[in-house]
C-alpha cells in the first residue's frame, strides 16, 4: 500500500499526491479504475426503465405499422388508388406520433402536452383538407373548439396542482371547467351556424354547475379553516 513520506499516512493505490500535504506519492504506475470512484458523476439513471419504454414504443410501432399496411394494401387492391384509406392512415400516423413523444423523446410533461396538442391540431386540419383539398370548417369550428378544450383543461390541471390542500375543491374546478367548455361550445356552434353570439342550452348547464361548484368550495375551505386554525396560530 503506498504511503506519504511526509505525513506517514497510507493512501489508496490510485492517488498521485497526498490528500493532506500534496507531496507526490512514489509508486508503480496504476491506472485509475473509474469503477472504484466513490460517487457518480451523474445521477444514477434506472436503465431498465429506459429499455422498457423503448420496448413499449417498438411494440406499439409494429402493431400500428401492421394496421397501416393492411389498410393501405386493401385500399390499393380494391380501388388501385388511396381514397378512403387517407382518413384511417392519417389517424394511425397521429397515434404513432402521440405514442412516440412520451415514450421516446421526452419526459417533460409540458413538452409532451405541447407536442401532442400540435399533432392533434395538424391532424384535424389535415382531415379537413384531404376531402376536397380546401379548408372548410377548420378555422371557425375545429380550431376554436380545440383551443377552448386545451386552455380550459390546462387551467384546471394547473389550478389543481397549485392548490395546497386537495379535496373536493378539485371536483369544483373540474365542474367549473366543464361549465366553461359548455358555454364555449354553445357560443362557437351558434356563431358558426347563425353568425350571432348567443347562449342557448348552455345556460341550463352553467347555472347548476356554478351553484354546485361554489357549494363544494365552501365545504372544502370552511372545513379546512376549522382544522388549520389551531396549528396556524400556535404560540
Amino acid at each position: 500500500m503506498p504511503y506519504c513520506s511526509q505525513c506517514g499516512v497510507e493512501v489508496e493505490e490510485y492517488i498521485d499526491v497526498c490528500p493532506l500535504c500534496s507531496t507526490p506519492i512514489h509508486k508503480s504506475k496504476v491506472i485509475i479504475d473509474k469503477k472504484n470512484l466513490k460517487f457518480p458523476d451523474k445521477p444514477v439513471i434506472d436503465k431498465k426503465t429506459g429499455i422498457l419504454r423503448f420496448l413499449a414504443w417498438e411494440i406499439i410501432g409494429v402493431a400500428l405499422l401492421t394496421a397501416f399496411l393492411i389498410i393501405l394494401l386493401t385500399n390499393l387492391i380494391t380501388d388501385l388508388n388511396i381514397t378512403w384509406a387517407r382518413y384511417p392512415l392519417a389517424s394511425i400516423f397521429t397515434v404513432w406520433l402521440l405514442a412516440t413523444f412520451p415514450l421516446l423523446l421526452t419526459k417533460n410533461p409540458l413538452l409532451i402536452a405541447l407536442f401532442s396538442v400540435t399533432t392533434i391540431m395538424i391532424f384535424i386540419a389535415f382531415i379537413d383538407i384531404i376531402d376536397n383539398w380546401t379548408v372548410d370548417w377548420y378555422y371557425y369550428i375545429a380550431l376554436p373548439i380545440a383551443l377552448l378544450l386545451i386552455i380550459v383543461t390546462g387551467l384546471v390541471i394547473m389550478l389543481s396542482i397549485k392548490v395546497k390542500k386537495k379535496g373536493v375543491n378539485i371536483a369544483a374546478f373540474i365542474l367549473f371547467g366543464t361549465g366553461t367548455i359548455a358555454v364555449g361550445l354553445d357560443v362557437i356552434i351558434n356563431y358558426a351556424l347563425s353568425n350571432f353570439i348567443i347562449l342557448s342550452w348552455s345556460l341550463f348547464v352553467i347555472i347548476p354547475i356554478l351553484l354546485t361548484g361554489i357549494f363544494l368550495l365552501y365545504i372544502h375551505y370552511r372545513l379546512m379553516r376549522i382544522r388549520d386554525v389551531k396549528k396556524w396560530f400556535q404560540l
Binding site: 493532506l20 460517487f39 458523476d41 445521477p43 444514477v44 396549528k231 400556535q234
Partner: protein, 430 residues
C-alpha cells in the same frame, strides 16, 4: 409547566417543533444546511427496488419522521406527510440544503449509489442517535435473509412494531428547569488564517484507524476515544497557531475551543427519537503558554467529567428553552423571528468554536447481516459558523474519521493525522 406540557403523540395530524428543531429550522440556509449524514458501504451492489421496498416497509415504524415542515403565523409546525419517501441518487456533494417548507418534502433523504446507502437528516427532526436507528432498521429490512429469522434479540426497529409514545417526546421541555442559571457567554476563538474554498461546498478527507492500534494507546492514557481524539484535535489547532510567525501570532492568539455533542439520553432517561443532544466545549487558552499533548489531554479529561453531567447540561437546556418561551418572542411573527435569529446567530455564534468533533460510537448490527456491511461512515458538513467538522464512527475493528472543511488548506487534518502517526497509530486516507 402548563405552557410546556404539550407533548406530541401518535395519531396526531401535526405537532410542535422541539427546542432544537425550532432553532435549526430558523437558522437553516444554504450556508448552514443543518444536515448530517450517515452512510453504510455494503459488500454488494444495492438493488434500488428492494431498498425502496425496505424503506416503504420501515417508514411506518417511524411516524415522527414522516412529516413536512409548514410555516404557521408564529412558529413552524410538523405536518404529517403521508407521501412515499423516494430513494435518490447519491452525489459528489452531499448534505445539500433541503427545501424543508416545500410541500411534501421529508426532513430526511435516503441516497444510494453502487454499494452505498446514505441517510441525510435535517438536524431539526433528529440527532445522530435517531438517524442511526433509522438507518440500522432500513439496512436490517433490506438485508434480512429470505425465510430466515434472526432469533437473537436486538434493538433494531422492525416494521409492524407500534412506536412507543415516549419516542415522540420533546425531551428538552421535559427536563427544562426554570430556576437553573444560564451558562456564561463564551469568548471568541482563534481564527485560522486560511482562505475559504469557493469551488465546491466543502472538502472531505476520510481517515481509517484500526481499533487494535488505538486501543492500547487510550488504555495506557486511561481516556476514552472521544477524549483522546478531542485532545488531538485541539493539539492540531494549537500547532497551526504556533506555526504562525511570532509577530503575526500576536494578532491571532485567542482560546482554542471545539464543540463535542453529547447524547443526552445517556444523562436523562429518555427514549425520544427526536433531537436530544447538546454540546460541551473543551478548550485551551494558548495565551497562557504552549500546552504539551498530555496537558491538553488532562484538560479535556477533567473538563468532560465536570461538564458532562445533569447539573451542568441543565444550564444549556435552560438557556435554549428559556428563549423559546419568552412571551415577546412567542408573539413575534415567524418571518421576523427568522430575521432576528439569523442576525443574532451571525453575531453571537460566529467564531465561538474552532470545530466540531462528533463521535457516533461503535455501530453494531445483527450477526446475520453483519458480514454484508463493509463499514459505516458519519459526516457533518461545515458551515459559515463552524468551518471544520470531524465525524467519527466505528464498525467492526475499524474507526472511520471524516473531516469536512470549507478551508482551502487541509492543514488541520494534516496536523491531526500526523500526530496520530507519530503516536504509533497507523492511518489510511481514502
Amino acid at each position: 409547566m402548563s405552557e410546556i406540557s404539550q407533548q406530541p403523540s401518535a395519531n396526531q395530524e401535526w405537532y410542535r417543533l422541539d427546542n432544537a428543531a425550532t432553532l435549526y429550522t430558523l437558522i437553516s440556509s444554504s450556508k448552514i444546511t443543518c444536515i448530517f449524514r450517515i452512510e453504510a458501504h455494503l459488500k454488494r451492489t444495492i438493488n434500488i427496488n428492494r431498498l425502496q421496498l425496505a424503506l416503504d416497509n420501515i417508514i411506518e415504524r417511524f411516524p415522527y419522521y414522516r412529516v413536512n415542515l409548514m410555516p404557521g403565523l408564529f412558529w413552524h409546525f410538523w405536518n404529517t406527510n403521508l407521501a412515499r419517501p423516494r430513494i435518490i441518487a447519491d452525489s459528489e456533494y452531499p448534505c445539500e440544503q433541503m427545501p424543508l417548507t416545500k410541500n411534501g418534502i421529508f426532513p430526511f433523504r435516503v441516497r444510494a449509489y453502487k454499494s452505498s446507502v446514505a441517510m441525510e437528516f435535517h438536524h431539526s427532526i433528529t440527532d445522530g442517535t435517531g438517524a442511526l436507528i433509522f438507518l440500522q432498521a432500513l439496512l436490517a429490512e433490506y438485508l434480512k435473509p429470505k425465510g430466515v429469522k434472526d432469533k437473537k434479540k436486538n434493538n433494531i426497529f422492525k416494521p409492524g412494531q407500534t412506536p412507543e409514545l415516549s419516542e415522540y417526546e420533546d425531551a428538552y421541555k421535559k427536563y427544562f428547569k426554570k430556576s437553573v442559571p444560564s451558562p456564561l457567554k463564551q469568548e471568541k476563538v482563534f481564527s485560522l488564517p486560511y482562505k475559504l474554498c469557493k469551488s465546491k461546498p466543502f472538502c472531505r478527507t476520510t481517515g481509517i484507524i484500526e481499533l487494535d492500534d488505538i486501543n492500547p494507546v487510550i488504555k495506557k492514557l486511561n481516556v476514552s476515544i472521544t477524549e483522546f481524539l478531542s485532545a488531538v484535535f485541539l493539539y492540531s489547532f494549537q500547532d497551526i497557531l504556533f506555526n504562525i510567525p511570532g509577530s503575526k501570532r500576536k494578532r491571532h492568539i485567542r482560546p482554542i475551543r471545539i464543540m463535542v455533542p453529547v447524547n443526552m439520553r445517556k444523562i436523562y432517561p429518555s427514549a425520544t427519537m427526536r433531537n436530544f443532544s447538546l454540546y460541551v466545549n473543551p478548550e485551551i487558552d494558548p495565551r497562557l503558554g504552549r500546552y504539551s499533548f498530555s496537558d491538553i489531554l488532562k484538560q479535556v479529561y477533567h473538563y468532560m467529567r465536570v461538564e458532562v453531567n445533569e447539573k451542568y447540561i441543565s444550564k444549556q437546556i435552560k438557556r435554549n428553552v428559556r428563549a423559546e418561551l419568552h412571551p415577546l418572542l412567542r408573539v413575534t411573527p415567524l418571518f421576523l423571528k427568522k430575521l432576528i435569529l439569523r442576525i443574532a446567530t451571525t453575531i453571537l455564534f460566529s467564531r465561538v468554536n474552532n470545530g466540531v468533533l462528533s463521535n457516533i460510537g461503535r455501530i453494531e448490527m445483527p450477526s446475520a447481516i453483519r458480514h454484508e456491511i463493509e463499514n459505516f461512515q458519519f459526516l457533518l458538513p461545515p458551515s459559515s459558523g463552524v468551518k471544520i467538522c470531524l465525524a467519527i464512527a466505528g464498525y467492526k475493528e475499524k474507526l472511520y474519521l471524516n473531516f469536512a472543511r470549507i478551508y482551502r488548506e487541509a492543514e488541520v487534518e494534516k496536523q491531526f493525522f500526523r500526530k496520530l502517526v507519530k503516536m504509533g497509530i497507523k492511518v489510511k486516507i481514502i
